[in-house]
């Protein structure tokens, strides 16, 4: 017929009939287009649509990282003060537990409350204004080109917040192949848990390019997700993605109440995680890096583990401390920063940055950020992949391909960096 798929033809005919009926029974007083129509001319413009989208994302990132700095520093200062008081407890082990384990661990995690809440505030504004739906529409053509469904973009965008709800949201994709492809590539979307790692490492070694380096991680994640989706579609699944049919909501002035609810609902997930998994992770890390008591970090249980993994990661420039941090990042990615703090024996994020600045090169730092972005999803995400795919085979496949990809991409970054003289 017209070359269009059956799924696309049905709604098209339905809209044609609805339009004819509307023309016959509705009398309009004026035919002037609405503000939403005028805005769509711009936001969905053939050439300007995507650049405007990227410019808006960049504004959201500057807001997230730069405007939230006072909140982070205030929390940091508070936990440092609390840690100093805890360190005065007479019993050495207890003092170390309270100061380094509890206050240090909590301080490292909660310092990221600011950027995470600010990020969700910005996304809430875009969502409530009706723009995010346009972003999905804009990306549909691109997504199709990479063998994905337009609705996949919404799931992937949610992945910037947390991969857990993002993978659950793939239930809205009817076609099983489209859904599986989206689930498999979703961990590549840089969730808010990776943000603390980027902020610390980029802040340490990237200088004035720190924001750009962090932003590039989000672009790298998206680019890799598209490439892997194309590969999976060609090699594993075959066939074309189903068409994307979506009614665009009208634009509206964002309601602050809605935006704050959006921010709170998503941000509180991080707070809950901080009080449970992350605190547990911090305490386990404190134990492994403190005992045997008096042996020093390098000869502690964590040090032994790090030295065992180090040979695998040495070609990427990662030492045993970075190796241990990555190992514990499997629990939750935020733990990577906590681990670095404990392994370097410091209590403040700025102190970790200062030590990193002297111990790794910008190239190693960038490769470490890329590795953190790509390798193994966190424990909770692996669980949700298992429950959503209903298959251990796909779950293990996702873990294995992400590990391999992380190693390859980081090695490529290091090799290219050396070639370009950044070593």
């Amino acid at each position: 017929m017209s070359g269009k798929s059956f799924e696309a033809l049905i709604p098209e005919r339905r809209y044609e009939v609805a339009s004819k009926i509307t023309q016959r029974v509705v009398k309009k007083r004026e035919t002037r287009p609405s503000i939403s129509d005028a805005l769509d001319q711009v936001f969905l413009h053939k050439w300007l649509g995507l650049p405007i989208f990227f410019a808006m994302l960049w504004a959201a990132f500057r807001w997230t990282f730069d405007a939230s700095a006072p909140v982070s520093d205030a929390i940091d200062a508070f936990f440092s003060w609390l840690g100093e008081i805890a360190a005065t407890v007479p019993n050495e082990v207890l003092a170390s537990f309270l100061s380094d384990g509890l206050c240090g661990g909590l301080g490292f995690v909660l310092v990221f409350v600011g950027p995470i809440f600010f990020l969700f505030f910005a996304l809430g504004l875009l969502e409530d204004s009706g723009y995010l739906a346009r972003a999905a529409f804009l990306m549909d053509r691109l997504m199709h080109r990479f063998g994905m469904h337009g609705r996949s973009f919404i799931c992937m965008l949610m992945g910037f917040g947390c991969n857990l709800p993002a993978i659950m949201s793939t239930r809205t994709i009817a076609d099983e192949k489209d859904r599986l492809t989206t689930i498999l590539v979703n961990p590549l979307m840089s969730c808010s848990a990776r943000l603390p790692v980027y902020v610390v490492v980029a802040g340490a070694v990237m200088g004035q390019y720190a924001s750009a380096a962090v932003f590039s991680m989000y672009v790298l994640g998206l680019a890799l997700a598209l490439m892997m989706a194309l590969l999976f579609r060609r090699v594993l699944f075959g066939g074309e993605p189903s068409p994307f049919i979506m009614e665009l909501p009208p634009y509206s002035k964002p309601l602050m109440r809605n935006v704050f609810i959006y921010m709170w609902e998503r941000g509180v997930v991080f707070l809950k995680k901080a009080a449970t998994i992350l605190l547990a992770g911090a305490l386990i890390l404190w134990f492994l890096s403190t005992f045997p008591w008096g042996a020093g970090v390098e000869n502690s249980y964590a040090g032994l583990l790090g030295h065992a993994i180090e040979p695998l990661l040495r070609p990427l420039g990662f030492d045993w401390r970075l190796a241990v941090a990555l190992f514990f990042g499997f629990m939750a990615k935020e733990v990577v920063v906590e681990a670095l703090g404990i392994l370097y024996g410091v209590e403040e994020e700025e102190a970790v940055s200062a030590i990193l600045a002297n111990s790794i090169t910008p190239l190693t730092g960038y490769a470490f950020m890329a590795f953190t972005l790509i390798y193994i999803p966190c424990l909770a995400t692996i669980g949700i992949i298992r429950s959503e795919t209903g298959s251990w085979r796909w779950t293990l496949f996702s873990v294995a391909y992400l590990l391999a990809l992380a190693y390859i991409v980081s090695a490529l970054i290091v090799a290219l960096g050396h070639l370009l003289g950044f070593g």
Partner: protein, 135 residues
């Protein structure tokens, strides 16, 4: 000269200014020179050049249809205004941050051309909004 044509010319001039600032911010990332109020900012430069380009398209379309051109002025002007306000907020946040950590802060060092151009972009965004609301 009609009011719409005057606004179109003004939008074109402001659009060119933003594109110039954006291109300079990108070029400075590779060049070794300092220009006051124009920092090295790859993505920031790209973003503000996009806002300027949107204003230029708006200026062109405004000469044909008020409705269509006004949409571009609202989005281009709004985007440039958002960046101007954002940079002002960042200055405020940096000052507060310096106060918390007890360091000195030089606000003048963080001033940017986008802040200076803020009234121009805001007026164009407002014009676009008014034109669309009343049409």
């Amino acid at each position: 000269m009609g009011k719409t044509r005057l606004v179109a010319s003004f939008a074109a001039a402001v659009g060119v200014l933003y594109v110039l600032v954006g291109v300079l911010e990108v070029v400075l990332c590779v060049a070794t020179m300092d220009i006051p109020l124009v920092p090295q900012d790859l993505f920031g430069g790209f973003s503000i050049a996009v806002a300027g380009s949107t204003l230029l398209v708006g200026a062109k379309k405004l000469k044909k249809t008020l409705w269509e051109g006004a949409g571009f002025l609202l989005v281009g002007g709004g985007l440039a205004t958002a960046f101007g306000v954002l940079y002002l907020l960042i200055i405020g946040a940096s000052a507060l941050d310096a106060l918390i950590v007890g360091e000195a802060y030089e606000a003048l060092a963080d001033l940017r051309a986008e802040i200076a151009l803020l009234p121009l972009s805001a007026s164009l965004a407002y014009y676009g909004y008014r034109a669309l609301s009343s049409s």
